[in-house]
Structure formats: structure tokens, C-alpha cells
């Protein structure tokens, strides 16, 4: 069984016919990211203990924050799907999950690059690292599940359940450095880092957030077009020549 969609309304609801507004938003996000990274790298002083390694914070921490935001979107969209059964919520959850997985993967890779010179190892089974790896693998599984299930309604229901369960891990990842004695430092945020680094951290966080919004909206728009094409083909097959 698949979702029944009123085609006329669905096509009309595709955002702005050629998506040019969205691409301009993407250009603004990229320019903001370049500007905030250049500003962060050039203007922040070396850390007393870590030296210039501190500058990895401007890519690692915003990636982690925005992965959390993406999975929050997954949770809300999955709940909305389970409540209302509308396909658009399933597609939004899937788009956010894909982008969240990208940023979680980046968080792990960048953290590993930061960890090697700081801790002396690329990886350790620290609660923060382990819970983040579990989060990453959960959403890799979520994306795999979506590619294995053909029936759109069943795929959406199963995905919503996995998406919700996966997103429950986000608070565990966030709080892991407080709940357990851990090698990873406390959460880096404007209240815990040196005042010299606050502006750089905030501007990079906002720039990555803009890019996150662009990626999710772009992926969502493509997903809507894919599904609309499938519905058109199904409708044409049902009506016959």
C-alpha cells in the first residue's frame, strides 16, 4: 500500500517553481561559513594548552550542534507523521536524517583529528565518543532501512519509529560528559569557553545552521519531486492508455 496524494495540490505545494530562492539562500550560507571560518582562524589567539589546535573547535562544535538540530527535526517530523500520516512529514524526517548523519560523521571525523594530537589517540571508547558513534550508526541504519522497504507507507511508519528512537540518543550524547567521568571535555558553548572564542564559535554555529537549513530544504524539495513523479506514474498506470 502506498500513500494516496492529491496530485494537483501536491504539485502546487512544491516550493517556488525553480528553487532559485533556495539556491540564493545556499550561496549566502556558504559565504557566511567562509567569512566566519576566516574570521575565527585569523583573529582568535592560540589557546594556552592546545595552541592553534583550538581552531578545530570552530568546525567540530558547530557540526555537533547542527547534527543535534537535524535529529530534533527528525523527531518532530516523525511524531507529526505518526500523528497525521502525511507523507510530507516522512520526507522531511528523511531529509533531516540524511543531513544529520552527514554532520554526525563530520563531528566524529573532526573530533578524531582533534583527539590525536590532544589525547594521543585517534579513537577511544569514551562515553561521549561511543554515544555519538551509536547515534551515527543508528541513522545510517535508518537510511538503509528506507532504501530496503519498497512500500512507502510501511517505510514511513518504520522510519518514524526508528527516527524517534534514534533521536532519543541526542540528550544522552549531550549529557554524557556530565553523567560519566569522561576523557572528553565538558560541552563547548559560549558559557564554557574563553570569552576570546565566543564570537568565533557563535558565528560559525550560525553559519553552519544556515547551511543545515539549506541542505535539508534542498533534499526535501528533491524528495517531494521524486514522490510526485512516482505518484504520476502510478496514476498513469492505473488509468491505462
Amino acid at each position: 500500500m502506498s500513500h494516496a496524494v492529491p496530485l494537483e495540490r501536491d504539485r502546487a505545494s512544491l516550493p517556488a517553481t525553480n528553487g532559485r530562492w533556495l539556491d540564493w539562500f545556499g550561496v549566502i550560507a556558504v559565504v557566511a561559513l567562509i567569512a566566519s571560518q576566516v574570521n575565527g582562524v585569523l583573529t582568535s589567539p592560540p589557546d594556552r594548552d592546545m595552541g592553534h589546535l583550538q581552531k578545530i573547535m570552530y568546525v567540530h562544535v558547530p557540526s555537533a550542534w547542527n547534527a543535534f538540530i537535524a535529529f530534533f527535526v527528525v523527531a518532530i517530523a516523525s511524531l507529526l507523521y505518526l500523528w497525521k500520516g502525511q507523507e510530507k512529514h516522512d520526507l522531511l524526517a528523511a531529509s533531516a536524517a540524511e543531513v544529520g548523519t552527514l554532520f554526525t560523521g563530520l563531528t566524529l571525523a573532526l573530533g578524531s583529528i582533534w583527539g590525536r594530537p590532544t589525547w594521543g589517540v585517534w579513537w577511544t571508547w569514551d562515553p561521549r565518543l561511543t554515544s555519538t558513534a551509536v547515534l551515527f550508526l543508528t541513522f545510517v541504519g535508518y537510511l538503509a532501512l528506507r532504501s530496503f522497504v519498497d512500500d512507502s507507507e510501511r517505510r514511513a511508519q518504520w522510519s518514524a519509529a526508528v527516527g524517534l528512537l534514534g533521536a532519543l540518543n541526542v540528550p544522552i550524547v549531550y549529557m554524557s560528559v556530565k553523567w560519566w567521568r569522561t576523557l572528553h571535555q565538558m560541552q563547548s558553548n559560549p558559557s564554557t569557553v574563553d570569552p576570546e572564542y565566543v564570537i568565533g564559535l557563535r558565528t560559525n554555529g550560525i553559519a553552519v545552521l544556515l547551511l543545515l537549513i539549506y541542505f535539508i530544504m534542498k533534499r526535501y524539495r528533491a524528495a517531494r519531486m521524486e514522490r510526485l513523479a512516482e505518484h504520476l506514474v502510478e496514476r498513469a498506470a492505473l488509468e491505462g492508455p
Binding site: 513523479a229 504520476l232 488509468e239
Partner: protein, 49 residues
């Protein structure tokens, strides 16, 4: 301090490779979705969509 600068450069490179790689994937996915939609619209020309 000099030997750790390579890690900083590597981190920014990894970040941008990831972002550009995903951007390219989005470009391909969007182009393919648009092609599918155009094909499907042509096939179902009799329908009011």
C-alpha cells in the same frame, strides 16, 4: 606548535570535502528528481497536473 598545524589544516579540509561532497550529491539528486518529474508529467499529459 608547528607540528600540530597540519591537524588544523586537515580538519578544515575534511569539513569542506564533506560539505562539497554532499552538495554535489544534492545537485545530482535534484537533477534526477526533476528529470523523473518531467518524464512522468509528459507520460501523464492527459491528467490535469
Amino acid at each position: 606548535m608547528r607540528d600540530t598545524n597540519g591537524f588544523v589544516v586537515a580538519a578544515y579540509l575534511v569539513m569542506w570535502i564533506g560539505l562539497i561532497g554532499y552538495g554535489l550529491r544534492l545537485f545530482r539528486v535534484t537533477r534526477e528528481a526533476r528529470r523523473q518529474l518531467d518524464d512522468a508529467s509528459r507520460e501523464g499529459k492527459g491528467m490535469t497536473v
